[in-house]
């Protein structure tokens, strides 16, 4: 965003909210993430019409309609693919992708690792409640192996998915963990993530009060903003693997090459002159 485009009036968080009331259960962690996001956007003073917020399917993925920005509530697991197309075609936009742990790490896992690798300038917000909320309580990749559910009556027995470790190995250049119960810390992380040039993973622990009521206790264990960022991947790896999952803050921020649109790159002549050249090349 160039300086001229910055709106004169300082924005307020509420400027970014729509009139739609969220469908979320009362007390759902996702409410606080919505709030933190609008605060971060206001802080950064980004024009509403220059924001593209895309998501998949899930409780968390309902987010876009609650902001008054250009939103896309896509299909399950494909938020990052939508976001990548949008960002490459429209490098001028602030592109944010959002969704849940099921959406992003289970069905969307392939786009996740490849979006990390491409390192396009996209902020990816994962609202991780360690469960499929929308479909009423099945284990997700981040679910504890011991958690009993209808689908896994004795627990899955699978050690849980390590999103930050995988993001790091895959090439993401900004990796943070936030907590929906810490709106200030979260706003700060989101502000940094959006400002960061490159792919930012913001993994947010967000309780599902309905299907994982025990997560209401998360606030007792979370350590707020106790992490300091590394620029070196091995150090970041150590911090990520070393954590019990209750630390929050930015783990990794590096200045890696960003995959950018060619749309803006200089070319000789007008589009129609270029088409002439292209067509001439076909002649015998």
């Amino acid at each position: 965003m160039s300086l001229e485009q910055i709106p004169v009036k300082k924005a307020r968080p509420n400027d970014y909210t729509s009139n739609e009331h969220p469908v979320w259960c009362p007390g759902c962690g996702h409410f606080f993430i919505l709030r933190a996001l609008t605060k971060a956007l206001a802080w950064l003073n980004i024009s509403k019409q220059d924001i593209g917020l895309v998501s998949g399917i899930g409780c968390s993925s309902r987010l876009p309609a609650y902001l008054d920005v250009y939103g896309f509530h896509g299909i399950h697991g494909r938020a990052l693919a939508l976001a990548s197309g949008l960002k490459l075609a429209r490098p001028d936009l602030t592109v944010i992708a959002a969704g849940g742990d099921g959406d992003g790490y289970s069905i969307g896992g392939n786009h996740f690792i490849h979006a990390c690798r491409r390192n396009m300038d996209i902020t990816y917000i994962v609202m991780d409640n360690e469960v499929y909320g929308m479909t009423k309580g099945q284990p997700s990749p981040t679910t504890d192996p011991e958690w009993h559910s209808k689908l896994a009556p004795n627990g899955t027995g699978l050690s849980s998915f390590n999103p930050m470790g995988i993001a790091l190995a895959s090439g993401a250049s900004f990796i943070a963990r936030g907590f929906s119960g810490d709106p200030n810390g979260l706003t700060k992380i989101l502000t940094e993530a959006i400002q960061h040039q490159g792919f930012s993973l913001v993994e947010i622990k967000s309780p599902c009060v309905t299907f994982r009521p025990e997560q209401k206790d998360w606030h007792k264990s979370m350590r707020l903003m106790n992490v300091t960022p590394f620029a070196n991947p091995m150090e970041a790896a150590q911090a990520i693997y070393g954590s019990d999952g209750f630390d929050t803050g930015i783990y990794y921020q590096a200045d890696s090459p960003v995959y950018r649109s060619e749309a803006s790159s200089k070319k000789n002549g007008t589009a129609s002159e270029q088409m002439d050249i292209i067509e001439k090349a076909l002649l015998v």
Binding site: Y70, R78, A83, G85, L93, I278
Partner: protein, 584 residues
């Protein structure tokens, strides 16, 4: 007249070349095609490969003419065998007859039994001996010289073509190769073939282009600025072609991790206001199914080109079939109206793809453009095709109105709702694949559901597509009408024209706009007719689709046959005749 089981008033010449891995059969074909083009003629070239990835046997079939020509040759007049390794694999593709001339290198194996049995005239030459005398030369270049001489192609055309094909390897390679060609030209001066000698060259500019390239070109002309794709045979050439032009015109090509990503990337880019496409083939289209439904429901313009190959499953990836029509029509879950369009030949691929991209924009919908391996990978020398002058734009809302908030999926007379683009002030909305009301907000009410279902169907069915929907070739007093589509069209057309010249009266319809079907017009055209639907698949997919829409009489028939071999006019003719007799 040469190659003339069919009566036609144009000159034609059919050649083929085969050889095992590394012999350079394909290179000879490419150079010949270009040289004959430079000499002022038209032609086409197809390829066949053995199962090996590379290093295996391969063959090319060339069909030349003094007029534009799309059909493949029915048999080979001159076959050049660089060797005979596994030649039997190409028995179906390279029919030899007693009037064929076969030239081969007699320093290697002898011609196999099936070649001898064909009754063709066999000429073994000691090409290897020449190669030995010319330092750095290759056998295929000597052979190229022999063929050039046989068909009466002047050496400077070959030289120009060599320059184009091998030029980037340095001037020396061209010189050495040309020396081999010249040597070859002296080897066999006796020419039983009529060749190109008495053909009239044209001075008009022509293109050397494949169908896949033409398809890409049409999209560029339609304003394409974004493509995302995952490689798949036989569609990869489209995006490989697009890579450079897109960069030249300030567009982007994104290599996706898979087809799920590719389709969603296209939707994301198009949501951003940028005309976008992807290309794939059956297996990839299967993976795009879910996201295509999103494009329909959220009304995002998107062009998907699918280049059919043999199916089901991985099937026969390198060969042609028309068996993915059902998929293009019906794969999406829910009631999901969209456009299904197909070019009738290579020549029109560019215009049909341009039209398709613009329709996707104007109708804010998914367009599936269906071609196939034959249409896509055949290389043509053809007259340049003018770009269409289309006025099909994505409708955009006028500046925001403070009073009434923007309704993304508003009902309108055309059923097309103005679509805002990120960056437009005060016109923000959320696109959604959930059933929604006019505002775009999710709704599960029966009324909203029906309203938006009908809106999306109506915008497509009400639209005025003009007469590009089909190529209709009526014949006076015809009692018979044949309907076909895609790569079957040219062969059927040639068969019908020949039969008509022989006294039959058959009308022909080649469908381009398959969905939504122009049902009323089709009924008008066929109601008094005996109708035959010809297509290259096993289950008569187009035929059943036309029946399902009551677009053809109930006593209509189908002539459906799976790939991978294309229909030939001469095979079709007696079958059409038998069918006509059965109708009396």
């Amino acid at each position: 007249m040469a190659n003339s089981l069919l009566e036609t008033d144009q000159h034609r010449l059919a050649l083929s070349i085969s050889g095992s891995g590394g012999t350079g059969a394909v290179t000879v074909g490419l150079i010949l095609l270009d040289a004959v083009a430079k000499a002022g003629f038209y032609g086409n070239m197809t390829r066949a490969f053995g199962p090996q990835i590379r290093g295996g046997e391969s063959a090319v079939m060339l069909h030349f003419s003094d007029q534009p020509i799309e059909t493949l040759a029915e048999f080979s007049e001159l076959h050049l065998a660089l060797d005979w390794v596994k030649f039997d694999r190409f028995e179906d593709e390279i029919p030899l007859t007693s009037s064929s001339l076969v030239i081969y290198d007699n320093s290697r194996e002898k011609p196999p039994g099936l070649v001898k049995e064909s009754g063709a005239t066999l000429i073994g030459l000691d090409l290897q001996a020449i190669v030995k005398t010319l330092k750095g030369s290759r056998l295929n270049m000597v052979a190229l010289g022999v063929v050039a001489q046989q068909i009466g192609l002047a050496s400077h055309f070959i030289e120009a073509a060599l320059q184009k094909t091998l030029g980037r390897k340095g001037p020396e390679v061209v010189t050495t190769s040309m020396a081999a060609v010249s040597a070859g030209m002296t080897l066999l001066t006796d020419t039983p073939l009529p060749g190109l000698a008495d053909w009239h060259p044209t001075q008009t500019p022509r293109w050397n282009i494949s169908g896949n390239e033409a398809c890409g070109l049409g999209a560029l002309r339609g304003g394409l600025k974004f493509a995302a794709a995952y490689p798949i045979t036989p569609a990869t050439d489209i995006v490989e072609y697009l890579a450079k032009p897109l960069a030249q015109t300030g567009g982007n090509l994104l290599i996706a991790e898979d087809e799920l990503a590719a389709m969603n990337m296209v939707i994301g880019a198009s949501f951003g206001g940028v005309p976008s496409m992807t290309s794939t083939s059956g297996p990839g289209l299967s993976l795009m199914t879910e996201a295509m439904g999103l494009a329909v429901a959220a009304e995002i313009p998107a062009l998907v080109v699918t280049v059919m190959r043999g199916g089901p499953s991985t099937g026969i990836p390198t060969k042609s079939e028309q068996s993915d029509l059902n998929q293009a029509l019906y794969a999406l879950h829910g009631d999901a109206p969209h456009l299904v369009i197909a070019p009738l030949n290579i020549q029109e691929s560019a215009t049909v793809s341009q039209w398709s991209l613009r329709l996707s924009e104007a109708l804010q919908t998914l367009v599936i453009l269906v071609t196939d391996q034959h249409l896509g990978q055949t290389r043509m020398i053809m007259n340049p095709v003018e770009a269409l002058d289309l006025n099909l734009q994505r409708s955009q809302p006028s500046a925001a109105n403070e009073e009434t908030s923007y309704q993304r999926y508003q009902l309108t007379e055309t059923a097309i709702s103005p679509m805002s683009i990120p960056g437009m002030t005060a016109l923000q909305y959320t696109a959604d694949g959930l059933t929604h009301s006019e505002s775009g907000l999710p709704s599960s009410r029966a009324e909203d559901h029906a309203q938006q279902l009908h809106k999306r169907a109506d915008k497509l069915s009400q639209f005025e597509y003009g007469d590009r929907w089909a190529c209709t070739i009526p014949t006076a007093k015809a009692k018979f009408t044949i309907i076909t589509w895609g790569s079957s069209f040219e062969a059927v057309k040639e068969a019908v024209e020949t039969l008509n010249r022989q006294g039959a009266a058959i009308s022909l319809i080649g469908l381009r706009l398959i969905m939504p079907l122009r049902t009323e017009t089709l009924i008008e055209l066929t109601q008094q007719q005996k109708v035959l639907v010809i297509e290259q698949n096993d289950s008569a997919q187009l035929y059943h689709y036309l029946l399902s829409q009551k677009a053809i009489p109930i006593d209509s028939d189908a002539l459906a046959e799976p790939g991978p071999l294309l229909f030939k006019p001469t095979d079709l003719m007696p079958r059409i005749q038998t069918w006509m007799e059965g109708q009396l």
